[in-house]
Symmetry: C2
Subunit: 314 residues, 2 copies
C-alpha cells in the first residue's frame, strides 16, 4: 500500500456538512470557515514512542490518546474544537496497526466534533504530531495569567492514576485485575474536558490542563499570574485504587504524576461553578505571597521534594 | 538546560504588534485574531532526519527549510501566512545546533510575516513538525481541482536542482565548486512562492506546490480536476548546471525530482499573469483526454518510466 492509498483508506472521511470545512484532507491546505467574531486557538503536541506511549499499547487507545491530549489543550482554554491535522511518521505500513489507530482516532474525532482536515505521512521512527484548531469568543479564552490572590484552586476528575499505571509498567508497583485495568485506562484513555472548559468561560480566572504533573502545571499558572498558592495535598481527588497505596507513592502520583489531562483552574471564592457531569474539587487557594506551599488537612507543611516533568531535565 | 529554558531561549519572541497574535508561545493554546470575512488555511509537514534532510545539514538551513516547505503549501493555495507552530523531537539538547536552527527559522519567519505562535518540545529521534496557518478571501483559495481542458500549465522558477544535489550526496553524480554550491542551495534553501501564490488568486484555475516531483504533483491536479495533460519536457526551466548533465539525468531531475517547492499552476490560455519577480514558464496544456502525455519540443512522445515520490512505495 502506497502513501496516498494509506491516506485515503485510513485518514480521509467527509466532515459533517455543518462543520465549516470547505476543503479537508487531499489538497495543499485545508480551508475552514470561521465563526464571525470568534478568535482562533491553536495547539500542537508531539507523541514519541517509548516516551509518551509504550510500543505495546493498543493502537486504538493510542489513536484516542494522541487526539485527546491535544483536545485537552483546547479544553484548558475554553475553546470549541474545529478541526485537527495529523502528521505521522511510521517505520513501516502495518495495516492492522493503522486500522486500530484510525478507529480510536476517529471515534474521539466524531465524539468531540473535531474533524481531521489534513496532515502528512512519512517513513521514520514512530512519531505522532497533532495540531488542533478551535474557537472561542473574543476575550473569553481561558489563560494561565489571570489568577488573583484569594481565588480558589479547583481540579476536575481524579489525579494520579495514570502515573500509578506507569509505575506498574515500570515494575515498581504491583497491581492486578480490575484495579490495574482501571488505572491503565486512565493512562491510555484520558477524557479531554471540553464541555467543562467551555462552561468555565467567564468564570475561571486562569486554567491549564494537567499534563506535566500538578506541581509543575500549577507552577505555570503562578508564574504567569505573578502570585503564590497554598495547596492541600489531602484534598486532592484520587481513586480507591490509588488511595490504597502507601502515602508517599500517593503523593508522588498526585503531585508530580503527569498525564492526568484534567483541568486545573482558579475562580473567585464563591463563584458558581458549572455542572457538566464532571466532579470538581477545591484543592487550595491563591495567595499574594510568591511560591507554592503544600500542606496537609491539618494545615501542616508537607515536605515532598517533587517537581513537574521536564523532557530535558537531567 | 531544561525544556522550558530551551523554549524561552530559542523559540519565544514577541510577534509584531500588528500580527493579530493575542497569545503566542507560552500558554496552552495560541490565540489569533482573524481577518473578518477571510477563510482559514492550514497545512502540516513533518521532516525526518535521513529522509527529508541529511544529518550533516547546516542547522540554519534546516530551520529555513522546515518552515519553507510548509509556507510553500500556503503559497500553493494563495494564502497569506498568519503564524505557525513547531513541534520538535530532539535526541539531546545541543545548544549550538539549536541556535543555528532557530536563526534560520526566525529569519524566514520574519521575512514572510509568519510568527511562531506555539508548539511542543520533547526528547526522541530528530523530527520537526510544523503547522502553518494562513488566510485567503472567501472563495479565492487556489485548489487542485479547477483545471479545465484548454488551460495552459505553468511553473515558477527552475526545476530539478534539488534532486541533482541529492544525487551528488548519494555519490551517483560528481559536481564541484560553484555548481555544487548552487544546486545544494536549491535543495537546502527553497524559497516559498508566497507573493506569486497570492497574486494568482482569481487567475490560476488550479495550483499545487512541487514537493514530490512534477509528474506526481501534476498527476494530483489532473486527478482532482478530472482532466489529462500534455507536457513538453524540453520546455521545463532548468539551471545551467542541470542543463550540462546527460539528458536522461536531466529528465529524471526535472520530471521526478522532488523538493522543488516551485508553484505548478494552470490558467486559461492568454490570461494575464502577475509579475512578482519570479520567472514563469509555460510547460504544457490541459486536455480533456485523461492521462499525462510527455512530449519533446518536436511533439514526439517521450518514454520516461518515472513517477512521483511515494514514502511507502516498494
Amino acid at each position: 500500500m502506497g502513501e496516498f492509498d494509506l491516506i485515503r483508506r485510513f485518514f480521509q472521511r467527509l466532515p459533517a456538512a455543518d462543520a465549516g470545512v470547505e476543503v479537508g484532507v487531499g489538497d495543499d491546505c485545508a480551508v475552514l470557515r470561521p465563526t464571525p467574531g470568534a478568535r482562533w486557538l491553536v495547539s500542537s503536541d508531539m507523541l514519541v514512542e517509548g516516551r509518551h506511549f509504550l510500543s505495546t499499547v493498543d493502537p486504538a487507545r493510542l489513536g484516542h490518546k494522541a487526539l485527546a491530549v491535544n483536545l485537552s489543550d483546547l479544553a484548558a482554554c475554553g475553546a470549541t474544537p474545529r478541526g485537527f491535522t495529523l502528521a505521522l511518521a511510521l517505520p513501516r505500513v502495518d495495516e492492522a496497526w493503522l486500522a486500530g489507530f484510525a478507529r480510536g482516532l476517529w471515534a474521539l474525532s466524531e465524539a468531540s466534533g473535531c474533524p481531521l482536515i489534513g496532515g502528512d505521512t512519512t517513513q521514520g521512527p514512530l512519531n505522532l504530531c497533532i495540531t488542533v484548531l478551535g474557537e472561542a469568543p473574543a476575550g473569553q479564552a481561558l489563560l494561565r495569567g489571570g489568577a488573583r490572590a484569594g481565588d480558589e484552586i479547583w481540579v476536575s476528575g481524579r489525579l494520579g492514576d495514570a502515573r500509578l499505571a506507569l509505575e506498574v509498567f515500570r515494575g515498581t508497583v504491583a497491581l492486578e485485575g480490575n484495579g490495574f485495568e482501571a488505572v491503565r485506562r486512565a493512562m491510555e484513555c484520558p477524557t479531554p474536558r471540553l464541555a467543562l472548559g467551555q462552561a468555565l468561560r467567564g468564570i475561571a480566572t486562569a486554567a491549564i490542563d494537567l499534563s506535566d504533573g500538578l506541581l509543575g502545571d500549577l507552577g505555570h499558572i503562578l508564574a504567569a499570574s505573578g502570585v503564590g498558592a497554598c495547596l492541600d495535598v489531602d484534598a486532592l481527588p484520587r481513586s480507591a485504587v490509588l488511595a490504597a497505596q502507601p502515602a508517599a507513592l500517593q503523593r508522588q502520583c498526585l503531585l508530580a504524576g503527569g498525564d492526568d489531562y484534567e483541568l486545573l483552574f482558579t475562580a473567585p471564592a464563591g463563584a458558581r461553578l458549572p455542572d457538566v457531569g464532571v466532579a470538581l474539587t477545591r484543592i487550595g487557594r491563591i495567595e499574594a505571597r510568591p511560591g507554592l506551599r503544600v500542606v496537609d488537612a491539618a494545615g501542616a507543611a508537607v515536605e515532598h521534594g517533587l517537581r513537574g516533568y521536564d523532557h530535558f531535565a537531567s
